[in-house]
Symmetry: C2
Subunit: 483 residues, 2 copies
């Protein structure tokens, strides 16, 4: 029953719950043991106190697609910064950087012989437009990228197509192999005189949706108009060839470029109590491809890390180290030697280079919203109490030790790793992710709320352990930092 | 080992297998008991001797989409007739009928306020084009058709949208309720001054694919430009409204009409031995919607009935009655009072009116390729030996008695029912069907070969029982026919 003594304890709901769990009466000012708090954060996330779903719902509904450098991406960044301030984050600010944008125009594809059939395609990222009346040619199908690269057949006037299939794996490794023709196919096609490049979509689904994505530039441009074809359409062209017929295809794209635009990173901190110069960095990207609304790539990643830190923010105490959320821009155009400007991961690392020794650990959430199933930690803590505590806290979530130490973290945190920052990885089940990746179907309805909350639980628990202490994650520790 | 005595037994593979099962040595000229043959046909289909998959693969690959009155539909009919002749069917011929075609043009939709987002739509069948610069309006969402029909709100200058959701059921009955706004929504919208009609897709999936289909005509036309919106896009507009914003949408379609074209029915018989004037009719439709390749709607239906009768054709004996396959045209434009010409079901019934008394039974396969799970027979044989035999033969396929007698058979055989022909129904599991129905995703990769063969097994077994005998399927039997 309410009375005067209880009035001073009228905190917000979540804070009260967490405090009740973690602090006990009269202990609001002291900090319990890290593993105790990590466990409580985990349970709070699973109990439905996470803001992750409402974050990704509002982000994807208000702004829809958020291509790099677009008004949608810029508005989403303004919204995110305002929201993070309202949620009580510290040091919230936007760090802009210049780039050239790419805008998908009208596009179409059709089989014109031996029969007239519409085809579902998506221009590959930064791909140049076709001529105004399109481009047409007989299609020559290569079963793999290797077969195209080894081919001596002249392709003048033809459309070169690679029909390599992606393998579905839990860890998403099938993507690495299947993406090779998307990266270098346009170059190989152009070198042989092909008028366009067609790619069986890099994806594990069988829907009439094409998976877009970037390719490698040659002399600062994608050398020929390049398109991904939906998997069922690629099957259809293969069957036409099997009937002894030659598929002839017409392609059209009015894609264009926008010079002099900008993208941006949004930075927000939960300031540490005693070692506040030391930063544990959590990354995800706000931009998305243009066909869907970027719910899983990477709206949920931004939601997971924001929600995890918001649960910490609602505690009556702070971790020793600063926890930093970076919502990166322009991740989808991340490319070695990209001619269109830098991307968020490089921009952050370059802009904060002097602070790298104080970045004690970094990780990225960018593989959808299905459950975390393994944890990878830096080699320096592969054995010992930190890892054991992390495994104790995460095992009830079904998270097991990863077979290897964390070496790669994703496009946005890899520049940090190159600057010496240790990485961790909360690896997600990617079995379904490449059904939807870079397609129009990357929309909110695909988000599994229970699995989303499991992610928040894993991130909140692990990050608390990493931030509320002085564990050194650097192997050789030459850059060991003090608070 | 081959020798001279075996040479005269060198029949084709399937015929040999079936004869070995059904005839025994020296009995090739006599006909075993119907239930024995029905069982053998069932087993032959399950053993992989069905041509169903190769039929639907070739049909959908060679011709792709086959809209009513299109060259694709006409060429598919020519191909089917040639194929049926080559397979040894009797009386193969094409029966053309006139109609006006409808051609989907370029179409697009986009949210223009409160933010710019692309939307996935498909114009509803026979829907008129928009003006050349499209049509734009604020969207007013009604949760159900009833809510629109009861509304007194003026909609001048608005886009009326019905966002009713379809229920997934095994028997497909959810379609009947959900399709109401597709049928009558355009009329209700137009009466209130709306500039266009938007419909949450009548479908059970959550993909960025819109489900097209026909609507009811008012004064011989669809009264306003009308579009289906993909389910995730409909969710998005609902969420925008829930945020307190008004979605404003731009729609464009360049759809057009083709006067003076034609569609056609393809007819092919397996002529009966002793009662050949009596016809058991199996129907399916060759035309398809234009977005996919009509694999499940209704390529597999044509494949199932052709393959079932081909298995009978390979027997050394014939059933007493004639078994007729009708591959209908223009089923997708079947409409009461359609202004664009008749459809195949009406054309066949009208053209064969004098033969109706000799059509002893009819059924249609037009609900995809998932397994048959119940059998419905005419009321006249609801009890008695015929039904018991049918159930004995079908039960090993998992086919159970339907709770009701067969009353409706589908758009193509219902005109036969109105002319007094008894109907049966081999009811398919429609749980997945409306995920794909009338979308770009109705393609060959969605066909489950094992379930397709189960359909062939059920059709071959049941049709043999119905055709090889003199069972009277007419309740009151006033039109009882003799051979």
């Amino acid at each position: 029953m309410p009375n005067g003594n209880n009035a001073r304890r009228a905190l917000t709901g979540v804070a009260l719950l967490l405090c009740a769990l973690a602090c006990g009466p009269g202990r609001a000012e002291s900090t319990p043991a890290p593993e105790t708090v990590a466990t409580q954060l985990r349970e709070a996330a699973l109990a439905g106190h996470s803001i992750a779903y409402s974050w990704v719902s509002e982000l994807t509904t208000r702004f829809g697609p958020r291509p790099a450098g677009s008004p949608g991406e810029q508005q989403a960044a303004e919204w995110a910064a305002a929201k993070l301030k309202a949620l009580g984050f510290d040091n919230v600010h936007i760090e802009p950087f210049a780039l050239t944008g790419w805008v998908r125009g009208t596009e179409s594809a059709a089989l014109v012989a031996p029969s007239a059939q519409p085809l579902v395609v998506a221009a590959l990222g930064e791909s140049p437009p076709t001529a105004a009346n399109g481009v047409e040619g007989d299609v020559v199908i290569f079963r793999s990228f290797q077969e195209l690269a080894a081919s001596r057949a002249p392709l003048a006037g033809k459309i070169a197509m690679v029909s390599q299939r992606m393998v579905r794996t839990q860890d998403g490794e099938g993507y690495g192999e299947a993406v090779a023709p998307r990266i270098d196919g346009p170059k190989e096609a152009a070198q042989r005189g092909a008028v366009a490049f067609l790619l069986r979509s890099v994806g594990t689904d069988s829907h009439r949706q094409a998976h877009t994505g970037t390719t490698r530039y040659v002399d600062a441009k994608v050398p020929v108009p390049s398109f991904a074809l939906s998997n069922p359409d690629a099957d259809q062209l293969e069957r036409i060839v099997a009937l002894g017929q030659i598929p002839r295809v017409h392609l059209y794209s009015s894609a264009s470029y926008v010079a002099g635009t900008h993208s941006q990173n949004v930075v927000a901190d939960l300031k540490g109590s005693t070692r506040s110069r030391e930063v544990v960095l959590l990354g995800a990207h706000l931009d998305s491809w243009d066909q869907g609304t970027g719910a899983l790539d990477d709206g949920t990643g931004t939601a997971i890390i924001v929600a995890a830190v918001k649960l910490m923010r609602d505690l009556p105490h702070r971790p020793q180290r600063t926890v930093r959320v970076v919502l990166y821009g322009a991740e989808e155009v991340a490319q070695p030697n990209a001619p269109f400007g830098d991307f968020g991961g490089n921009a952050y690392a370059a802009g904060h280079l002097s602070e790298m020794p104080l970045h004690v650990l970094a990780g990225e959430s960018d593989l959808g919203a299905d459950r975390v199933y393994t944890l990878a930690v830096p080699e320096a803590v592969a054995k010992g109490e930190f890892r054991q505590a992390a495994e104790r806290v995460l095992r009830p979530l079904g998270v097991l030790p990863a077979p290897r130490a964390a070496e790669e973290g994703g496009a946005d945190v890899d520049p940090l790793a190159r600057a010496g920052v240790p990485l961790f990885s909360l690896n997600q089940d990617a079995s379904r992710y490449f059904d939807l990746h870079h397609t129009p179907d990357d929309t909110l309805d695909k988000v599994d709320r229970a699995q989303l909350d499991q992610n928040v639980a894993a991130w909140a628990a692990f990050i608390w352990l990493a931030a509320d202490g002085d564990v050194d994650f650097r192997s050789a520790a030459p850059q060991r930092s003090g608070s």
